[in-house]
Symmetry: C7
């Protein structure tokens, strides 16, 4: 498995029908297309200039909305993952 | 519902006739078109370099004016929301 | 009314004949056209990296010269206002 | 009169024949054309990240050399002034 | 051998068939093509603004995924190495 | 004379035959053409974010090599001077 | 001789046949062509924002690999030197 570096997270995309009622609809016209995904691993967090570390704000299992362009995609055993910098997460779906 | 990340806020657009007397008129010619919206959720705020957190300055229910280009739009159960960084809020309507 | 966010201010433009003797003449050839306006509302100021806030240096009623390109214009009840970041104010007219 | 904002200064241009012997000759071929001017007003200085203020290094009456492109020009009662950020001053003429 | 400077690391590329089942598949269509490699040397880490050093987060022998464009490639005795800034490492393969 | 501002220095160009043996030869093909000059005046130094000042590292009389593009040239009483930011000095000739 | 300024170093290029076995081969196709050189002089190091100085990490005699584009080349008594910022050193050859 992948252990993200610093303040990065690994996310598995959530595939849902774009027009499902009650779900989040992500219009094609959006400038940055936000997508949904489940957090599967988080890094140790960012090191501040004073030397302390700030833990990543999300945890494994959280479902998040993020701007896809910010991440790097790779595939492990048939599943596609996105490695994302924490700051590219827009919101947590609750 | 969405819980915004860091110093982001979720805003629901307020639709009002652009020429209503007493309202805020937003001319089409404005370089950055400001729009009005109601804050429906706020993040935990920004983490400073010394490790402390600065709470977001607006709260749920506030009506704000903001530059629309700064945000990301998505739709939940038929309602359109904008996820915005706090610093893109221009003013609170009182 | 509008309450500016952070270190922003709301300014009402002052219309004066561009060649009035004794007034400030703003030549069309200036690279950034500075304009005059009256401060009608100020934000709470900028938060420094150490967490303290720096109050805005101008107050309501001050007449200021600023570079217009820096602001966002909107109209409330027939009056045009500019929302400006404090750092785009060039000088106070005394 | 104008009270400059933050670390800005107001400067009145000094007109001198470009080839006067003993004066400062500013060649047309210079990439950034430096000009001479007299400081007529100074701001309160820049606020550092720790909240303290650094006074402006020049005072009223000082004659300075500066890169003209950095400033904003306006005219008051027939005299042309330049509002300049302190950091665009190159040197003080003594 | 090479001793990386500051927060750099030296990485030896891991050649694996791009479609091997169970391995990491790196699609050609990825915007930044991430690649796999083994860390063979690490620098002393980055010096913070307060003068302390932050050790590099990976160690010799770690297998990492990184964006290849970030590094500089050179060859020593027939083996190709990449010198990479630590922040260009995306994740550690465990 | 000129008193440089902040961390600037005033430099008088040293004219030497470009092919003199024992001297420094500055090839025309260099991307940034470094030139030689004698420091004739130094500023008070840069003010750090904590409010203290760092004195300029060179002193009057030092001969330095610098990238000419970084400076502003002006002429006083027939002599050409360059006003340079301290950080554009590459080395001191000893 | 040259005394480098701040966190700069002076490097004398090491000429070696690009295909020598056991040496470092620097392929022409590399995006940034790294080259080898011997450090002949080092500056006093960089001054941090808190006013302390960080000594340069290499010392005279070290052989380093660096990206040539980062430096400035000049010739002294027939020998070509490169003045380089410390951060452009990629690794030390041991």
């Amino acid at each position: 498995m992948l252990k993200p570096y610093g303040d990065r997270v690994v996310i598995e995309l959530v595939q849902d029908a774009p027009t499902t009622r009650g779900g989040i609809v992500l219009p094609d016209s959006a400038k940055e297309k936000p997508v949904r995904g489940k957090v599967v691993a988080v890094g140790q967090g960012k090191t501040l200039d004073n030397g302390t570390r700030v833990p990543v704000e999300v945890k494994e299992g959280d479902v998040v909305v993020f701007a896809k362009y910010g991440g790097t995609t790779l595939e492990i055993e048939g599943t596609e993952y996105t490695i994302l910098n924490e700051r590219d997460i827009l919101a947590i779906v609750e």
